[in-house]
């Protein structure tokens, strides 16, 4: 099966979640006999996009129309549908995200495709095409058979192991045709938190709860995150109290994350918070209450004062 991978880029560089999408696409293509083409939209440097080859893409179609520099699910879906046609792809892979889901949905409706969002494993292609996905916010899984000729899969982080190898993809100019309908909204402004590492892209997350006792006490947590090259997150009460910005809120009604390492500091572990982190490979809980329910979901636990433990962990890391 020929596979098309939708790339998300940040300042022209392929996001980590999209590197995984390429690796996932490459695994599907190699199991079913086919090649992988990646689709990059908006600004992008050819030498950066060629790096898609390291994860298994043979070719990158690059549509550099400046109107595509703004995230726009309508135009992106139009471009994706045209790229599916141009490459004869029958499988489309995207990283699960706000824009990934929106593009997947609109393209699926146009292509009458079978769509699964939240895949956690590679598909089973022996005799059919079925894929396992996360449901009930990570509390369970469902295996779904995808019956339509075109299949669109939005994958969760860690759905596949990524091994970068030597390789370079051929970057080709792609000129999709857009209609007026594709540019219906005007962006009037945006706010972005500077150079901060994005939670969905981060391999390590250090997260704080009410046990941090106030926004002025966040420095030890930030220090540990910096020493680890980690992103910072928080629990719902912390974001509700405005101690930390809303985009840091991890949980059932916030961002769902699946890092390799999640360090929870002063978070008791309400079921709604656990729902947002249960895709993590390794969970560390630091809490002064030995009865905190989070310990039951953790791999490593320290019962202690976060303001004592955090600086010691930071020091231990810096000393290597």
């Amino acid at each position: 099966m020929s596979v098309l991978v939708f790339l998300e880029t940040d300042k022209g560089i392929i996001k980590k979640t999209s590197q995984e999408a390429i690796a996932y696409g490459a695994a599907v293509a190699s199991a079913t006999g086919g090649t992988v083409t990646a689709l990059a939209l908006g600004e992008g440097d050819a030498s950066e996009l060629a790096k898609a080859g390291r994860f298994g893409a043979a070719k990158v179609l690059h549509a550099a129309d400046p109107r595509l520099n703004q995230e726009n699910s309508l135009a992106y879906a139009s471009a994706l549908v045209q790229a599916v046609g141009a490459t004869g792809s029958t499988v489309v892979i995207l990283a699960k995200s706000g824009i990934g889901d929106a593009v997947a949905a609109r393209a699926a409706a146009r292509l009458k495709a079978a769509i699964v969002s939240g895949a956690t494993e590679l598909p089973d292609t022996a005799g059919g095409f079925s894929v396992k996905r996360s449901i009930y916010t990570g509390k369970a899984f469902a295996t779904v058979e995808m019956k339509a000729p075109v299949k669109i899969i939005a994958i969760r982080k860690n759905a596949v192991d990524v091994q970068a190898e030597e390789g370079s993809a051929a970057v080709e100019v792609f000129n999709p045709v857009f209609g007026d309908n594709d540019f219906k909204a005007t962006v009037t402004g945006s706010e972005k938190a500077g150079t901060q590492l994005s939670l969905t892209d981060a391999d390590i997350i250090v997260s704080g709860g009410r046990g941090m006792k106030g926004p002025e006490n966040w420095q030890p947590l930030i220090d540990l995150a910096q020493a680890l090259g980690a992103a910072t997150g928080c629990s719902k009460p912390v974001s509700d109290l405005d101690w930390r910005p809303h985009h840091e809120h991890i949980g059932q009604t916030g961002i769902k994350v699946a890092p390799n390492l999640y360090i929870a500091c002063g978070i008791s572990g309400a079921i709604q918070h656990l729902a947002g982190v249960n895709g993590s490979k390794c969970i560390v809980v630091i809490n002064k209450d030995p009865e905190a329910p989070f310990f039951k979901a953790a791999d490593y636990g320290i019962v202690g004062d976060v303001f004592d433990v955090l600086p010691r962990l930071t020091k231990a890391i810096k000393e290597g």
């Binding site: 609109r106 769509i115 390799n260």
Partner: protein, 245 residues
């Protein structure tokens, strides 16, 4: 202005999930159902916008009769009438086709729903419906105002937010803090009993995906406790044992 708010009927966020019938059905025994939390935000903002503009708000659910307590709650919160498409939702595409069918018949200026349901978490129904109706869709929307046929709204993007303007009709997937959840008052509960709730048959759709089975995640091993006075040991274990550093 005519507003449609789509709600899901889903297990409470604290529900313990288990399955029956050879892992093909959710075990509903002892499970409390609620309006999807994100849908509840959409409903709350929809009611506010309706009150400002003096329009009509219809609430729509695709689901069996079990959903009716949640539909009545939405009526009590402020929806004027309700439509229930009498069918067990099969997949996102099925639900989207039902919503699009109702929308084509009635013509709404604004369609709101949660950014995702909390049972399947796909977050794709608004996009599917938008494409089926040929109108723009945006998600997750965290602020929304309507003025003179134009929507001004904020959408969460990776690490921040983006402000947009677009003409109606629109379809939006909503999340906090678009509005505060509303709790029905006694007068709302009384009037909800007599508000119209129309039950309609589903339109047939193509079967694009088929559920094979459900499963629960493997049980988590015991948590390894490290004494606080040896906190530094944790870093070594994360490197050598867990291999995540």
């Amino acid at each position: 202005m005519k507003i449609l708010v789509c709600i899901t009927n889903v297990p409470d966020t604290t529900a313990r999930i288990s399955f029956t019938d050879g892992d093909t059905k959710l075990n509903k025994a002892g499970v409390q159902y609620i309006i999807g939390p994100y849908d509840d935000y959409a409903l709350a903002r929809g009611v506010e916008l309706k009150e400002q503009s003096g329009g009509m708000l219809t609430v729509l659910n695709v689901g069996p009769a079990d959903s009716e307590p949640q539909i009545r709650k939405a009526l009590a919160i402020g929806a004027d009438d309700a439509i229930r498409v009498d069918a067990e939702p099969v997949d996102s595409f099925f639900v989207a086709e039902q919503i699009a069918h109702v929308a084509r018949q009635n013509g709404y200026d604004l369609i709101l729903m949660g950014r995702e349901s909390i049972d399947f978490n796909s977050g794709i129904v608004h996009g599917l419906v938008g494409e089926l109706l040929g109108i723009p869709s945006f998600s997750p929307v965290m602020k929304l105002d309507i003025e003179g046929g134009k929507a001004r709204f904020a959408r969460e993007i990776d690490g921040g937010k983006e402000y947009l303007e677009a003409d109606l009709p629109l379809i939006l997937g909503c999340q906090e803090p678009i509005a505060e959840w509303k709790i029905p008052n006694m007068r709302g509960i009384m009037t909800a009993r007599t508000k119209p709730l129309q039950v309609v048959e589903p339109v047939p759709t193509e079967e694009l995906t088929v559920l094979q089975k459900y499963e629960l995640p493997p049980a988590k091993g015991a948590c390894r406790m490290i004494p606080a006075e040896e906190a530094e040991t944790l870093i070594r274990l994360l490197k050598t044992e867990a291999k995540v550093l």
